[in-house]
C-alpha cells in the first residue's frame, strides 16, 4: 500500500528490546487498590458504592456522569474501605477523589453476560456494551471509546484506522498484546468497524515490530482488516500523523478525524472492545510496560486498574540502580511522578525508571536559531519563535504563530541542541491561556450578577419610594378628606 509523507519527526533511541521479548505476565493480586474516579477525558464518574460495601470483580462502582464520561468497575472482589482523596497519576501530584478497595483474595467475578454471536448485535448495541464496560482510549488519550463510536457512526465514517504504531521509546505493551492476542484484537477491530459501518480498515504498525506484524497478518487472514507496515518514526502513533501517513489527509484545524471520514482507535482498545462485547468483561486491567535502565527486570505485566505502581516495580525485582526519574507513560510524552503509591489507571501504558544518562538533561543555553526544531516539528510550527514569544510573556504572539495547533509531542525539545524546554513553554502557555479564559468567563458571569443585583436594589429602592409616595398620597388624601369633612361639619 502506498504510504504518504510525513513532515518532521524524530528518531529517538527505541530501547524497546529491554522488554519486547518477554511474555505478558499477570501481576499478583494487590492487597489494596486505589481506583480514581477520573481516568478519562470528561466528567469524573459518580460513586455508586458506600464504604463497607462488598463488591465482586467487574461490578459497577462508579457510573458515568454527563455526556463525556466513563463508568468504573471493581478490579477485583473485596470491600470498599474508603471514598476519599488519593495521589493522582498526574504531574501536579494533587489528590483526586478515589475509591479504595481492599481485595478479599478470591478475585470472584460477578455474573457476566456473554454474547456468542457478537456480529448479530446492532451497531448501537455494540456501542452500548462498550460504553457500559467503561472502555477509554488505551493509547493514552483516554477519550471514552463509545462516544467516538457514536459520533463516527452518526457522521458516516469511511475509514477505520487502528493505531499499532507505538512510537514512544521503551513501550512494548501494544507490541506484546499484538503478538499474544492478535485474534482477539482482530475480532475487536471488526466489531468496531461493525459499530461504525466502516468500509475500509487499516491497521498501521511500525516496521520495528516484525513479530507483531506477522501475528496480526495471520490473525487478519483474508478478512477486510488490512495490516499496513509504516516506517518507524516519532510521533507516528499520534492520531493526526497516522491519519496523514495512511490516507494522505489532514484533520482540519480544530476539527475531529470524523470530519474527514476517519476514526482512529488503538489496538489495545480493540482487544478491550472484544472482551467487553463478546464476554461482557468491563475494562479493569491493562498491559503495562515496565522498563528503563534503572529497573532490574524490564517486562510487560497485566495489571489491575488501581494497583499502586510500587507493586509493579517490586514485581520487576526493583531497581538495578537508583532511578534518576520515574515516568508514567513513554519518555517523550509521559509524566514524571515521585510518589510510587500512584495507581495504574486505564491510560497507564508504561512505568519507566530512567537513569540520568537516558534522560540526557542539561541546563538550557541560548537559542542559536539553528531551526532543528522547525525541521523536527510534525505540525509545521516554528517552536523557537513561539518559545521566544512566551518567554517575554507575549502569549498572543505565540497563538498567532500556531500555539494551539501544537500537539505537545516533544520532538522539538528532544532535538534542541540548546536543551531549551520548548514543549514545557508551550504547555505552560496553553495552561495560562485556559486559566485566563476561565477567569474571563467568570468575570463576565459575575458582572451580570452584579448588574442584576444593582438593578434589583434600584428596583427595590424605587418600589419602596413608590410605596412611600403612595402611602403619603393616601395619607394626604385621608387628611384632606378628614379636613374636608371637618370643614363640612363646620359649615354644617
Amino acid at each position: 500500500m502506498k504510504l504518504f509523507d510525513l513532515r518532521g519527526g524524530v528518531h529517538p533511541e527505541g530501547n524497546k528490546d529491554l522488554s519486547a521479548e518477554r511474555h505478558i505476565r499477570t501481576l499478583p493480586l494487590p492487597k489494596k487498590l486505589y481506583v480514581p474516579l477520573q481516568q478519562h477525558i470528561g466528567a469524573p464518574a459518580t460513586p455508586v458504592v458506600k464504604v463497607g460495601d462488598k463488591v465482586l470483580k467487574g461490578q459497577l462502582i462508579a457510573t458515568a456522569q454527563g455526556a463525556v464520561s466513563a463508568p468504573i468497575h471493581a478490579p477485583t472482589s473485596g470491600t470498599i474501605t474508603a471514598l476519599g482523596d488519593h495521589v493522582a497519576p498526574h504531574p501536579s501530584g494533587l489528590p483526586v477523589p478515589t475509591i479504595t478497595l481492599e481485595s478479599d483474595g478470591e478475585d470472584k467475578w460477578m455474573p457476566i453476560e456473554t454474547v456468542d454471536k457478537p456480529f448479530s448485535l446492532r451497531p448501537e448495541e455494540v456501542a452500548a456494551r462498550v460504553a457500559a464496560a467503561g472502555i477509554v482510549g488505551l493509547g493514552g488519550a483516554t477519550f471514552p471509546s463509545a462516544l467516538k463510536l457514536n459520533l463516527s457512526r452518526n457522521s458516516g465514517v469511511q475509514t477505520l484506522i487502528m493505531n499499532g504504531g507505538e512510537c514512544e521509546p521503551y513501550l512494548t505493551c501494544d507490541d506484546r498484546i499484538m503478538r499474544e492476542r492478535a485474534a482477539g484484537i482482530v475480532e475487536g477491530i471488526r466489531l468496531i468497524a461493525h459499530a461504525v459501518a466502516a468500509k475500509e480498515i487499516l491497521v498501521g504498525i511500525e516496521d520495528n515490530k516484525p513479530e507483531a506484524i506477522a501475528a496480526m497478518q495471520t490473525a487478519a487472514g483474508n478478512s477486510e482488516v488490512k495490516i499496513v507496515v509504516m516506517p518507524s518514526m516519532y510521533p507516528m502513533g499520534s492520531e493526526k500523523q497516522i491519519i496523514q501517513v495512511l490516507t494522505g489527509m489532514e484533520i482540519p484545524a480544530g476539527g475531529r478525524p470524523a470530519d474527514i471520514g476517519v476514526l482512529v482507535h488503538n489496538v489495545a482498545t480493540a482487544f478491550a472492545v472484544q472482551q467487553a462485547v463478546r464476554y461482557g468483561k468491563p475494562l479493569i486491567s491493562r498491559i503495562v510496560t515496565l522498563s528503563g535502565g534503572a529497573i532490574r527486570t524490564a517486562c510487560n505485566v497485566e495489571a489491575l486498574v488501581g494497583t499502586p505502581v510500587q507493586e509493579l516495580i517490586d514485581f520487576a525485582d526493583g531497581y538495578a540502580q537508583p532511578a534518576a526519574r520515574l515516568v508514567l507513560g513513554g519518555p517523550m510524552m509521559g509524566q514524571q511522578f515521585t510518589n510510587t503509591n500512584v495507581p495504574v489507571v486505564k491510560g497507564t501504558s508504561g512505568v519507566l525508571a530512567l537513569m540520568a544518562s537516558e534522560i540526557g538533561h542539561a541546563e538550557a543555553s541560548p537559542c542559536i536559531r539553528c531551526s532543528t526544531c522547525v525541521r523536527a516539528c510534525p505540525v509545521g510550527l516554528l517552536p523557537l519563535e513561539m518559545a521566544a514569544h512566551i518567554r517575554t510573556a507575549d502569549l498572543a504572539g505565540a497563538v498567532a504563530l500556531g500555539l494551539k495547533d501544537c500537539i505537545a509531542c516533544g520532538s522539538c525539545s528532544y532535538v534542541c541542541p540548546a536543551h531549551i524546554p520548548l514543549v514545557h513553554f508551550f504547555n505552560y502557555a496553553k495552561g495560562d491561556l485556559a486559566a485566563q479564559e476561565r477567569s474571563k468567563l467568570k468575570q463576565e458571569a459575575t458582572k451580570k450578577l452584579a448588574d442584576a443585583r444593582n438593578e434589583r436594589l434600584a428596583r427595590i429602592e424605587r418600589e419602596r419610594a413608590e410605596a412611600a409616595a403612595k402611602r403619603k398620597a393616601a395619607r394626604e388624601a385621608k387628611e384632606r378628606a378628614a379636613k374636608e369633612a371637618a370643614a363640612k361639619a363646620e359649615v354644617v
Binding site: 498526574h90 483526586v96 531549551i420 505552560y428 485566563q436 459575575t446 444593582n454
Partner: protein, 178 residues
C-alpha cells in the same frame, strides 16, 4: 548672516508654536468615549478595592492614565491584560500574578448567621438566611473582600483559590534562554 539665521529660526519656532497652541485650543476632543469602554471591561461590582469610588471612577482614572492597569484585584491578570490591550500600554503584571486568585470562604464553626455579608455582597455570591450558616458560591465570588470587612466574627476570610486537577497547569520554565 548668522543674525538672519537666528531671527528666521526664532520666527519659525514662534509661528509653529502659536499654531500648535491654537490647534490645542480649538480642536480639543470633548469627553472621552474610552471611559465607557473601559467600564464595560471592569467587574462592575463597585467594590472599591482600587481606591476609587466604584468602577466608573476607576475607568476615568484609567482613561486619564493616572491609575495602573493592575488596579483591580478581582479582575486579576486577565483583566489587567485586557485593559493594557485596550489602552495600548505595557502591563506590569509582577504585582498581580504574585497574589493569585482569591475567593471568600466561610468558617462554618464561627458563622453566627447575621446576614451582614449576604447583604453587602455585590454579586449575590453568598447565600443564607438569618440564624443560618451562609455559603459562598465559588463561581460568583469576585474576592472583593466586602464580606470580610463586615463580618463580626471574622468567619469570612479571603483564601487563595485551591488548585484542582482542572485548574492546575505547568508553571513557566525558569530557563532564561529561548
Amino acid at each position: 548672516m548668522l543674525f538672519a539665521a537666528i531671527i528666521s529660526l526664532t520666527l519659525l519656532g514662534a509661528v509653529l508654536g502659536l499654531l500648535l497652541g491654537v490647534a490645542a485650543r480649538y480642536l480639543k476632543v470633548e469627553g472621552n468615549p474610552l471611559v465607557a469602554e473601559i467600564e464595560q471591561l471592569l467587574p462592575g461590582s463597585q467594590c472599591g478595592q482600587c481606591g476609587f469610588p466604584g468602577c466608573t471612577g476607576a475607568a476615568q482614572a484609567l482613561a486619564e492614565g493616572s491609575a495602573p492597569v493592575t488596579l483591580c484585584p478581582p479582575g486579576g491578570v486577565a483583566l489587567a491584560q485586557a485593559l493594557a490591550a485596550k489602552l495600548g500600554v505595557e502591563a506590569d503584571l509582577s504585582g498581580v500574578a504574585d497574589k493569585g486568585p482569591m475567593i471568600a470562604e466561610i468558617k462554618e464553626e464561627i458563622c453566627i448567621g447575621c446576614t451582614r455579608c449576604f447583604k453587602v455582597c455585590p454579586t449575590d455570591a453568598i447565600m443564607g438566611a438569618a440564624q443560618q450558616i451562609h455559603v459562598v458560591f465559588r463561581e460568583a465570588c469576585t474576592a472583593c473582600g466586602k464580606c470580610e470587612e463586615v463580618c463580626p466574627t471574622e468567619s469570612v476570610k479571603l483564601q487563595p483559590v485551591p488548585v484542582t486537577l482542572q485548574s492546575w497547569y505547568w508553571s513557566k520554565p525558569r530557563a532564561e534562554a529561548a
